[in-house]
């Protein structure tokens, strides 16, 4: 009897080994070829100087990194990227939480609200950026028309270096609110109703309930949204690429690291320098994510 089960056990585990790897094979092969090896190739490439059209790959050691350390455009882009992230992530999260809490009540038309707030998520970012650019247009844009009607002067929304990054961040916030809201709604629906009923009986008002029940209980969702949105915001590219012309005087104050990566790698053909920039981005994202993981113990409550 024991011998029989043992033999059956080994046959089962041999089967699981064979089938497990058959099932995994396409994904593992793909991940290796498409992702894992390319990470090392990009790091390797960052030690080379590449001429236009990929010609003349010359090993230059750490020169790209030394050049990067002295390149004020890279530092400015890093600063721009942080600034963008520090605006987009908190603002979109706060607005999304408020909307989710409002919509989560037994409210007429909540489906319609949900559909409308999520709408920007299903639009092509290129189209979104184009229509916002048109809204922001200094001479003929709707926004300046509204400002003029209110007796305020026109604003150069995307060509004034001091304002442009906020204009770009507004587009990012507008685009992502619905996405964050849907995630928060899913988190809110897991909070048992009796928590609120008990609090109401104890005489707690809505605002007290929000800070004492809702916020702690959706803190895992908040943590998840913060981490993923931060990673996303640090990679901002589409809106800047589509809204800021190469000749726009505000471009140096708005271009992000990924924008520079694209410019150096594909517009100027220097894939070595582009690789060094994207390695910097990788390092930045890793460090920030690790810091967030460490900090979560302070504010995220898992029950």
């Amino acid at each position: 009897m024991t011998v029989k089960t043992k033999r059956k056990g080994t046959r089962q585990s041999r089967n699981e080994f064979i089938w497990g790897w058959i099932f995994l094979l396409p994904t593992m092969a793909g991940l290796m070829i498409l992702n894992i090896i390319p990470i090392f190739q990009t790091v390797y490439q960052s030690f080379f100087k590449t001429g236009a059209f990929g010609k003349g790959n010359v090993f230059i050691g750490l020169d790209n990194y030394i050049k990067m350390a002295g390149d004020s455009a890279v530092w400015q882009a890093l600063f721009n990227t942080f600034k963008y992230t520090l605006v987009e992530v908190p603002v979109s999260i706060v607005i999304a939480i408020i909307l989710a809490v409002l919509i989560n009540q037994k409210l007429r038309g909540r489906t319609v609200y949900r559909v409308i707030y999520f709408l920007p998520m299903v639009a092509a970012p290129a189209a979104v950026a184009m229509v916002w650019r048109w809204l922001y247009n200094t001479e003929f844009g709707l926004l300046n028309h509204l400002r003029n009607m209110a007796g305020l002067g026109s604003v150069s929304w995307i060509s004034n270096p001091r304002i442009a990054f906020i204009s770009v961040a507004v587009v990012g916030i507008w685009s992502v609110i619905g996405y964050n809201m849907v995630l928060f709604l899913a988190g809110l629906q897991e909070i048992p109703r009796d928590f609120y009923e008990a609090a109401s009986i104890d005489g707690a008002n809505g605002i007290y309930q929000f800070f004492r029940i809702t916020l702690p209980l959706i803190s895992p969702t908040m943590f998840f949204v913060t981490v993923t949105r931060t990673i996303g915001a640090l990679q901002v590219f589409d809106s800047i690429y589509m809204m800021m012309d190469r000749t726009n005087p505000a471009l140096p104050k708005t271009q992000s690291l990924v924008y520079l990566f694209y410019k150096y790698s594909f517009t100027e053909g220097n894939k070595g320098y582009g690789s060094a920039i994207v390695v910097l981005l990788l390092a930045v994202i890793m460090v920030i994510t690790v810091i967030q993981m460490i900090c979560q113990k302070k504010w995220v409550s898992y029950n």
Binding site: P26, P38, L99, I103, A126, M130, Q235, I285
Partner: protein, 276 residues
Amino acid sequence: MSKKTAINRIIIHTVLILGCIVMIVPFAWMFLTAFKTSSEATQISPFVIFPTAFRLDAFKSVMSKMNFLLLYKNTMVLIIGRVICAVLTATMAGYALGRLNFMGKGLAFSLVLFQMMVPSQIFIIPQYLMVSKLGMLNTSFALIFPGLVTAFGTFLLRQAFMGLPGELEEAARLDGCNIFQTFLYVMAPLTKSSMVALGIFTALFGYKDLMWPLVVNIEQTTMPLSAALAKLQGQFTANYPELMAASLLACIPMIVIYIIFQKQFIEGIATSGGKL
């Protein structure tokens, strides 16, 4: 008390409706501008909000510059190709990682997690060089290439398989199913909602992908909508009705699909986002 709740409700609806207006105005403006003449769009006194007549001139002229049928087709190829590959490979790998025990599983899973933490731009140059060396630039294959497998989807499906009760598997095995049959006939059908979620997620982000198509498919005949819009803006910056008509044509199909399947869309994003 009930009067207080009624006032509360009115305040809540007012806030939500104001928010909705902010969400809709850009789309409305895109729509209205697309039907204007160029001079109506750039007239300031008086400022024109509604076009005097709904003219199709901008649509006609933008359609003569861009072959939208081809762009829709290319976008479809990208989406369908990536969705099929993602769902197929992720379901298989998710089953292996979620339900089977074998040597090397831990390592495989940590590679999946690792890939999810890395910014995708780091893959682009080597992936571009691979496609280029294969001589496959400006092909449908190039559009699908980065989406052949998905670490995120593998993770999502692994979670789905792990959530299923073990008795089903036992019963299937006692009935004489081998591992493959158990997977195909018993377990995989139970993760249908996660497969749909992954499909929607992949389709949406494939449709929105801009940088990769800009890098690999620069020919008019092989680019998807997103890249074509970027090229169009580079060429005709000033003609706003045309730019808005093109944007509208690029957005309408996805918006229609979204409104029809809004429940699946929103739940799909909520489950795929929330399960991480």
